[in-house]
Amino acid sequence: MKYIRECFIIFGLTLAGEFLNKLLPLPVPAGVYGLFLLLVLLCGGILKLEQVEATGNFLLDIMPVMFVPASVGLLESMGDLQAILVPVVVISMVSTVIVMAVTGIVAEKMLGGKK
């Protein structure tokens, strides 16, 4: 029973997010709308953490596996990619390091030693 209710809430919010994504002319994906909806409901006390936590933690736990199919799909894009493979890979990797370092250092400096 518990899991039925939890799944109903989480998938219901996903559905609401999907609906907002179609309805509003903003480039916000369904998952991000759903995230904010859930956050608002939790903050407003309309939902309690216990009402979504078990299923939520299950989904977060298996989340890394969810990227496997799309990543394997890179095989399919190999044709389009060949001509610009080197710049694409180099730029993607180098700029990831730069963005991570800049964000991390700025945050670290601003937060100082406090936790």
């Binding site: 999907e18 998952g31 993607s92 700029s95 991390g104």
Partner: protein, 230 residues
């Protein structure tokens, strides 16, 4: 036998889970940071598909149900975020400035390297949204006139690479604060980076989840402006 493989509704699903478990096992066994379970899983699945001549459609006909769970899982990122809400309120300015710097650094670094490689406009705008989550990135790329399939490739390379190198980078540049680590992972490597942040800890996971949404939305505004540069 081949019939069974191409008609199975569970093969891709089980293969993906098994490959990930093998990745976790291998990392534990050898302890090398490059042996990221996600990367191992992708390589293993590709190897199996090639070895048994299974095409991607066959694999994906069942593996797609794993991908299907990604949107509800994204919704659930609100859970760690809610638990750390007080921490977020207390550090709101630092959080906002750090994510903004990251988004700006992304646009500037991609612009500079596109000049170095002499990329055409179409390829430049294709790569621009690479640090944000696929669902937003695809839309941004399309809007800017990029090649969406290649944008997805960039997003995934970014995510996996960010996930793999984060811990080493943080050590090297001496980023120790869990809030800073979370913001850096989410801003640079979206949801795949957030998977790593959740492994590091609850605060890291919460801040990374927040960064996916904030950096994603900022990038929507920044890309059309940055696109005019080249």
């Amino acid at each position: 036998m081949m019939n069974f493989v191409s008609e199975s509704m569970y093969l891709g699903f089980v293969l993906s889970l098994g490959a990930y478990l093998a990745g976790v096992w291998l990392k534990k066994r050898l302890g090398w940071a490059v042996l990221n379970p996600l990367l191992t899983a992708v390589v293993l699945v590709i190897a199996v598909l090639l070895a048994f001549k299974i095409d991607y459609q066959t694999y994906n006909s069942s593996a797609q149900y794993i991908s299907y769970l990604l949107t509800p899982a994204t919704v659930c990122l609100a859970i760690p975020l809610y638990k750390q809400l007080e921490l977020l309120k207390k550090n709101l300015v630092a959080v906002a400035v750090a994510i903004t710097s990251g988004v700006a650094a992304s646009a500037v670094s991609i612009f500079a390297m596109s000049l170095v490689f002499g990329l055409e406009h179409v390829h430049y705008v294709t790569i621009l949204p690479k640090s944000i989550t696929t669902a937003i990135g695809m839309g941004v790329s399309e809007e800017a006139g990029g090649i969406v399939t290649i944008t997805v490739v960039c997003i995934i390379i970014t995510g996996i690479f960010g996930n793999i190198m984060a811990e080493a980078l943080f050590k090297w540049i001496r980023v120790k604060n869990p809030i800073a680590k979370g913001l850096a992972l989410g801003t640079s490597a979206h949801a795949i980076g957030t998977a790593k942040a959740l492994e590091l800890g609850e605060i890291e996971g919460a801040m990374s989840s927040l960064s996916i949404a904030v950096a994603g939305l900022m990038t929507v505004v920044v890309v059309p402006l940055a696109a005019q540069l080249l």
